[in-house]
Amino acid sequence: MTVSYPYGGRDLFAEPENYEYAQCEDVSFVTAWRNQRAAIVERLGTVPGRPDDDPVIDAPVSGTSLIQIMSDIRQDCVSQGLQADTAKEVLDSFVAKFEVFRRLFTAYDASLRKTADATGATIAGYLSFGFALAAFAEQGPRPKYLSTLLKLTDALASQDHTSWAEADRQNFARLLKREDDLVTVWESTCCR
């Protein structure tokens, strides 16, 4: 019997999942997750070009754009004007925002509060968050960031990708590849 991945049946931005008390002991759970991701990558098409192209950084009316903040985090930098000492501190703040509210915004002020004129983050914004999570998860055994990345990609996977810009589709495919590589590393540790 084929088991379907239980977090793929609805729009997870509109109806967030809390992931509590998950029934995931059976090996078929991971197989189902991997099958769901593979089917999405196939639908998204091939991924030419260099990996992780930076999306176009939008200029917000006020504050700093989410994409700029995430781009700087990937360079292990704190965006100019933000009240934080390290890129990790900034990323941890966004991890908490996403884990609690399951949504981000287009721009943030120096205290990392959304600006008054900010709107819901774009797909490109969420993808830039995903690449920042992946970059931190790849720096060592940091499953905290991979856990949030898996939730983010669940939510992005639940969207209608046919309406996305081509660059977003390709970047999502690349992000899913990096997610799979990260999970494979943990599998090699945990499933000897």
């Binding site: 509590e20 995931c24 759970f29 055994p141 898996l150 599998e187 540790t189």
Partner: protein
Amino acid sequence: MPLDRTLSGLGLLLAPTMRSRAYAQMLASRGLSPDHVFHYPAPEAVWTGERTVRVPLDEDGRFFDFAPYETAAETVENAGWDHSTLPDTDINHESVRKILAESGLSVLVYSGMNKAIVSKETLECSPKLLHVHGGYLPDYRAATGFYFGLLETGRVGVSAIWLDQGFDTGDLVGRAWYPGGHGLNVDAIVDPVARADLLANELESWLENGTFPAVPQTGVAENYFVIHPVLKHLALRRAAQTI
């Protein structure tokens, strides 16, 4: 039959959870008798698995035979401990606060309802609350921190702390790592029994020394959120490989 050792001035606050069952059974098995036990007025879940589960406590063969079907109330009754039922499931309810404030206890072992947050007002008027957190502190803070520890180490970390207003930030009484359980149910069996064993160890130290430690948490602290099920699966696979 273990010697009866009364924990003068110490009480237990037990919600209808597997953790409370483990606490009551562990203390009873070691002859540790609290001055008083408070129960929450809430229904117990029915355990449909094995009646007794042997849980490894270290790599040297120490174990605990846990009876998950036996409610904490049944264990307390069988042990003959003084007990009563609180008027509300909310520890911050005025009626509960009043009872705790007038209990005469100096320390209350806290095994509360899931997701309950103890308010500043309750902390100020109740006995000192001793809580055993699932996760090795300060490395693994928040509710499923222990799953991340399990994923990274194959072991279950637990920490006894004095509750304060922060999330898992209170001063440490003690902490320890336990075996992953070799495929046992981590949520219902391994984690509750690990917490119960650390609790009993700390209470025995207190009886011996007359004081509880209170060591501020130092080092790198990490806050964790609910673990994604793919990583939870891998954590359980890793735990299944360790005794």
